[in-house]
Structures are given as structure tokens and as C-alpha cells.
């Protein structure tokens, strides 16, 4: 590792592809406490302000023929509303505000993270784990409140042969508790991997011989990342809907 740090620019990478994920305080160089204003909290705040601007300021005029900003807000709203209604059914619509909040937050943080030199909070498992475990706890509590002990029927398959039921129950319990882990790591892993790949190719761009190829590759991967940012927000939201459906109707 010692030699690599002193390597000349044309060999090896000139910067580390994972440096971009470093959380640093905005003011001063002190240690990061839970109340320190860092680049992560700043970009999350910008995302929240952007959502506020789109939804509160953009729809404040409530014109019958919506303008560009208002129709964007309406499309996002009705898209998620339809998803919640399709996946969880009519009684799931009560929880629509939570799901819309999750979707918009992840979508805006993902897209703002694609702005060059910005920071993507969703690339950190610490951020996505809060979202993922929040969904897990909310859904588990809701399942027990709505169904009582019948919620455990989610693990006890009535239509499986009796011999297999205990084995299936063990597998179902394990898969239930892995849900929040995979839910959060999927989002963080996708975003982090995409950004790291862009930075790896940016490192190759320093080598004169292959720099045109790598710059074209960056452009292509960036296009893919725009796609991934939207799809991962969508996937996180639809999985939340699926988990909510399991909590509301454990028998199905």
C-alpha cells in the first residue's frame, strides 16, 4: 500500500474511488457528532427543500390547467397513489403519505447526488438502514395491531403439507428478518456501486492513451445511473407497499 500512495499519475489511480463517500463537517475540522452539520445533512436538507419547493410552492396556485411544475408534482403524486392502491388495496391508502414521503426523499436524494461534486446520502448504509428499519418496525407493529396473533399466520402456511410447515415457518421467519437488511443494503449498494464505477473510470481518464474511451464510458454509465436512481427509489417504494400488504392481509 505504501508504494501506491507515491505512484506517479500515469500508473494507478490518482484518487481513491471511495473518497467521494467521506462524511466531513461543513464548518471546521472537528469530529463528527450526531448534531454536526456535515455534507450529508446538507444534501438531505437540500433534497427536503427541493421537495417542499416542488409540492408546496409549485402547487400553490392550483390552476385547473397545470403548468410544468404543477403537473410534475401531480404526476409523482398520482403515480405513487396508484401504486399504493394497486399493491396494498383500498385499506392501504391510509398509509399513502408515509410511502409518498419515502419515495420523494429517496428520489430527490438520488437525483441530487448525480450532480457533479455533490454528495449522495443514500450511498451510506447508515442513512438507508434508518429508512429500511423504519419501514420494518412500522410494518411489524402495524401487523400486530391490525391482526393480533393472526399476524403470525404469515409464517404458518395453511396450504402447505403439515410435514413441511415447520420447515417453511423457519425459512419464512429468517426471510422476514432479512427483509430490512436487504431493503436498505439494496439501495445503498446500488447507489454506492454506481458512483464508485464512475470514479474508477474518471481515474482511467487521467491516462492519456485510454482517456477518450473512458470519458465516453463515463457518459454512458452516467446515463445508466440516472436510470438506476429512479428505479431504486421505485423499488424501495414498491417493496414497502408489498411489506405493508403482508402486514394488512397476512393470509394472502
Amino acid at each position: 500500500m505504501e508504494e501506491e500512495a507515491h505512484a506517479p499519475a500515469e500508473g494507478g489511480l490518482t484518487f481513491h474511488p471511495l473518497d467521494q463517500f467521506e462524511v466531513t463537517p461543513l464548518f471546521g475540522d472537528g469530529p463528527v457528532h450526531f448534531f454536526t452539520i456535515t455534507n450529508a445533512t446538507m444534501w438531505m436538507a437540500i433534497a427536503v427543500l427541493a421537495i417542499f419547493a416542488l409540492f408546496v410552492l409549485g402547487t400553490s396556485r392550483r390552476s385547473l390547467v397545470p403548468g410544468r411544475v404543477q403537473s410534475t408534482a401531480e404526476i409523482l403524486y398520482s403515480f405513487i397513489y396508484k401504486m399504493v392502491e394497486d399493491v396494498t388495496g383500498h385499506d392501504g391508502v391510509r398509509y399513502f403519505p408515509y410511502i409518498l414521503t419515502l419515495f420523494l426523499f429517496i428520489l430527490f436524494v438520488n437525483y441530487l447526488g448525480l450532480v457533479p461534486t455533490s454528495f449522495t446520502p443514500t450511498s451510506h448504509i447508515a442513512v438507508t438502514a434508518v429508512l429500511g428499519f423504519g419501514v420494518f418496525i412500522a410494518v411489524t407493529v402495524l401487523g400486530f395491531v391490525k391482526n393480533g396473533a393472526a399476524f403470525l399466520g404469515l409464517f404458518w402456511m395453511k396450504d402447505a403439507p403439515l410435514v413441511l410447515r415447520p420447515i417453511i415457518a423457519v425459512i419464512e421467519v429468517i426471510s422476514y428478518f432479512v427483509r430490512p437488511v436487504s431493503h436498505s443494503i439494496r439501495l445503498a449498494g446500488n447507489i454506492m456501486a454506481g458512483h464508485a464505477v464512475i470514479k474508477v473510470f474518471a481515474g482511467f481518464a487521467a491516462i492519456a492513451l485510454i482517456s477518450p474511451v473512458s470519458i465516453v464510458a463515463i457518459a454512458l454509465i452516467y446515463g445508466l445511473e440516472v436510470l438506476v436512481a429512479g428505479i431504486q427509489a421505485y423499488v424501495f417504494t414498491i417493496l414497502t407497499c408489498v411489506y405493508l400488504k403482508d402486514a394488512l392481509h397476512p393470509g394472502h
Binding site: 401504486m83 423499488v235 414498491i238
Partner: protein, 78 residues
């Protein structure tokens, strides 16, 4: 070129973990390919199943991301 045997093990392990990405690629391709095959036979039902498609893709892809995470942990966290 010098280094200790533990570093070598890390790199070999990270490289082996990257095989998982290829396995996830097979899984994702399988999901998408089968969806397309079904969608072309019955295009009218395809639109209603896109949500299922994305859920299937997400589950297949999550395991590849786990492999990637193991590789990252081996490279930078161990």
C-alpha cells in the same frame, strides 16, 4: 513486490466475491428475459405485471449487491 499473506488473502477473497456479481447478472437476465417472453405472448397483460417484474429484479439484484458488499468489506474494512 512485498506484502504479507493476509493482504493476499483479502484480494483473493474480494476477487472471489466478485463472482457473485456475475451470478446476479444471470439472475437478473433470467427474470427480464422470461418477462419479455411472457409479455410478447400476451402483450395486453404485460403492463399490469411490470411491478412484479421490478420486485423480481430487485430480489435477484440484492444478492449480487451483497456479494459486492462482501468484496468492499474485504478490500477496505478488514
Amino acid at each position: 513486490m512485498e506484502g504479507n499473506i493476509a493482504d493476499m488473502g483479502q484480494f483473493i477473497g474480494a476477487g472471489l466475491a466478485a463472482i457473485g456479481s456475475g451470478a446476479a447478472a444471470i439472475g437478473v437476465g433470467h427474470v427480464a428475459g422470461n418477462f419479455l417472453a411472457g409479455a410478447l405472448r400476451n402483450p395486453s397483460a404485460a403492463a399490469s405485471q411490470t411491478a412484479t417484474l421490478f420486485i423480481g429484479l430487485a430480489f435477484a439484484e440484492a444478492l449480487g449487491i451483497f456479494a459486492f458488499l462482501v468484496a468492499l468489506l474485504l478490500m477496505f474494512a478488514v
